[in-house]
Symmetry: C2
Subunit: 157 residues, 2 copies
């Protein structure tokens, strides 16, 4: 018996936006954008990508899997660092080309630089010309050197 396909064919705009068929629009590289937020605080932890297999594994296991564009391979968040993400809820957007997962972040944080969130710098609003960033919530919550093996320094997307 043939395996049941995970994703539906995309129909009309009406079907994609108002229907209940999971009809993701993968980009030319076979990816959708995934935003992971902290289920407790609402903070955005990271933005990464999923291919069809990463998405299927995430849904089936309840653990976040991504596809690394730089390394061109599937990875389970936490496979190197031990800082996995348990998915509390997954949502898909109106045109079904992005997903949002609310996660329980294990360990010190999501960012390979040792912070809880990858978004640890702010862009001041109201300026013009050259923009200078400001650190915000940038304290390290773990030591990345102690967590990642040298050969595995860049777990990100």
């Amino acid at each position: 018996m043939a395996e049941q396909p995970t994703f539906a064919q995309r129909g009309s705009t009406e079907a994609v936006e108002e229907g209940l068929a999971f009809a993701l629009k993968f980009d030319a590289d076979g990816l959708v954008t995934c935003v992971a937020t902290d289920a407790r605080t609402g903070d955005v932890l990271m933005v990464a990508h999923m291919n069809a297999e990463a998405l299927r594994k995430t849904v089936e296991s309840g653990q976040a899997w991504y596809f690394s564009r730089s390394r061109q391979r599937l990875w389970r968040k936490g496979e190197s660092s031990g800082h996995g993400q348990r998915v509390v809820e997954m949502r898909v957007d109106c045109d079904q080309d992005a997903v949002w997962i609310k996660v329980e972040q294990a360990g010190g944080g999501a960012c390979h630089t040792g912070r809880r969130s990858c978004f640890y710098r702010a862009v001041p609003i109201g300026g013009s010309g050259a923009m200078t960033l400001e650190f915000r919530d940038a304290e390290q919550t773990f030591d990345p050197a102690g967590v990642y093996a040298t050969s595995n320094k860049l777990p990100g997307a």
Copy 2:
């Protein structure tokens, strides 16, 4: 006198990740991903794209500007609907290819389908095979037919 460039040249990984120069990595189409969350609730309202000009306008004006891939043009969120987004804070991620804005969403919501958020359907976790979505926070908070002119039906990215 030459205008001061908005964005810095990208240096080493160390400089991009730990520095204060705003050195965005635009993709092959000249875009970065932007996640907009509700500054009050933390909910993800939408995921869209910004090009350099949209980003500059957003920072200078404090109102969210995006670049529509489908319409290939710059747009200010709310220009059709009146439902603008005031940017409370902007963050950039570790490798500087995504930004996160916390916004005060004007009007009924951010989604052109009439919902507060574009993420009004959940993907059940733990299943396998064909996945069926479930509506979640999907009540319409405004009537899109009354808000968008017919010629402007798809304000999204």
